[in-house]
Amino acid sequence: MIQDKATVLKHENFQGDYRILHLATTGIGPHVQPGQFVHLQVPQLGDRILRRPFSIYKADSESISLLYKPVGRGTASMATLHKKSQVDLIGPLGNGYPEAANDTLPVLVAGGYGNAALYLKARSLKRKGVAFFGGRTAEDILCVEEFEALGWDVRPTTNDGSLGIKGLVTDAFDPWLLEQNERKPELFVCGPTPMLRAMGDRAIENNFKAWLSLDENMACGVGACLTCVIKQKTETGWQWARCCKDGPIFESREVLWDE
């Protein structure tokens, strides 16, 4: 983990509203584990003050890329960054996804910008399985070709049916799951909370593992402020775990969801 002033190498439109920010940072790039994130100080956000967390979409020895969508003040201001702007980063942060077990079939499940957190994992996993991508419309289904090029069998679902199966990720996943009998699936999931929860429930019911990347508001990003806590099950009940430091990745059995 370092704090680094990174220079914008490129800032490009990706698909729909999504954008990719390429940042030069030799201090962070080489150390990234799939599923980790950076905490980015939004430029010119004068009167708002907190950093914003972003999954590391790609990383090499000299740079990282972030894949994001402007949704609010912070990301809107981020969208104004131009080439050569400087951005203050802290990273890489968080635990990242664990290695897959030897005998499982890796399955990726992503919603919206969830692909950003999964791309590096998709690349590093030796065995390539199925990737379920969900989104509102075709525009929200990102990087299909990229994941396919890595050898993944991508199955999109959209709420409006504009790409793949019409419905939720679960509408594609559930029938698929019924057909599995050779290998136990092992899920790597990143997306909105209801999706995480749905996948977690299936993992527990069907006795496989699901590694969920949780999305909580963060202040410090390094484990100091106790803003981003989630309930982690213990033998006797639960304890708080910090999404930024102990997570953002938790196995489904660890998470005690609020009703």
Binding site: I2, Q41, I49, L50, R51, E216, A219, G221, L226, W240
Partner: protein, 306 residues
């Protein structure tokens, strides 16, 4: 010109420079150790410790506002024994003195937590949190009632010879009265200010933005309030004051010294720029040199009333 002297004495505790971190914004030490050279700080002030493990509030616990943030973390923590087991050994590897922020749900608990901690040589002072806006017990209610306030300080005084530093509540009409009461009750220094009781409401759901209902406002927004409280308290007491509230730049810290603080703490700014405390230390030194001062003490309480 020689380097100015930055060292500050708080009772028996020597700070090599007058900059610590604000309790609750820096964890217990390890969290920022990769980003900040802990040995450069004047002191490390850790998050509030109670006698026992405490879970704190439900989430959401923080919220961003214009020029500041709200928090209602609710003082989760490992308790005195947990702190001793997990963090005291870690902190012992550093030369920087450790200030433990303590609190209790009852008056007695303030005594109890000190009893549990006081044999540890790695603990150098106690900051008594009498002003947390986010817990029903103790906290703010204790800090705005002069007699409970004094009572807690006296009790802690009985339990320890280490320096004790009551942290005053900002939501009082007469901070001077609390400063004087703390001095009388045996305090070695004062910490001013805690985050300010505040609230935000989500207009879509009409729910408070913090699960706790209300919380504390911190950050640059409150700096002018903190400067006034420090200034007013300094008029009424000879105790050294650790000033805090919205320090983001060295210039902010200098303002606190001129107002009457002997030391300062960097809080919310750690979240935005973890290098703030070090930048502030360096900036104070530069300022002193520019002003031809050779000791930080020459700056303390030097408002030019014109």
């Amino acid at each position: 010109m020689n380097k100015p002297n930055l060292a500050v004495q708080i009772g028996s505790m020597t700070m090599q420079n007058p900059v610590t971190v604000a309790s609750g914004t820096f964890g217990y030490g390890p969290e920022y150790a990769e980003l900040v050279d802990l040995n450069r700080l004047g002191a490390i002030t850790v998050k509030g410790i109670a006698p026992d493990i405490h879970l704190g509030n439900p989430t959401p616990r923080t919220y961003e506002t214009r020029g500041g943030m709200l928090n209602a973390i609710g003082l989760p923590g490992p308790g005195a024994q947990g702190f001793i087991d997990t963090y005291v050994p870690f902190l012992a590897d550093y030369t920087t003195p450790v200030i433990v922020n303590i609190w209790g749900k009852t008056i007695e608990e303030y005594g109890n937590v000190v009893e549990q901690l006081d044999n540890e040589t790695g603990i150098h002072a106690y900051e008594i949190n009498l002003s947390c806006p986010n817990i029903k017990e103790g906290g703010s209610a204790f800090g705005t009632d002069l007699s409970i306030f004094s009572h807690v300080i006296e009790l802690v005084r009985e339990k320890t010879k280490k320096p004790i530093i009551p942290k005053l509540a900002p939501n009082v009409s007469d901070i001077g009265a609390f400063a004087q009461a703390a001095e009388k009750a045996g305090a070695d220094a004062l910490a001013i200010m805690n985050s300010f009781p505040a609230m935000g409401i989500d207009i879509k759901t009409r729910k408070p933005v913090l699960a706790n209902g209300s919380g504390g406002l911190s950050g640059p927004a409150i700096k002018p309030i903190a400067i006034k409280l420090v200034h007013d308290a300094a008029q009424k007491t000879n105790l050294p004051i650790i000033g805090m509230g919205g320090i983001f730049e060295p210039e902010d810290a200098v303002e606190f010294f001129i107002a009457g603080a002997s030391a300062v703490a960097v809080g919310t700014a750690n979240f935005i720029d973890p290098s703030t405390a070090i930048r502030v230390i360096n900036g104070i030194e530069t300022y002193l040199i520019d002003q031809g001062l050779n000791d930080i003490k020459q700056l303390v309480g030097t408002v030019n009333y014109g």
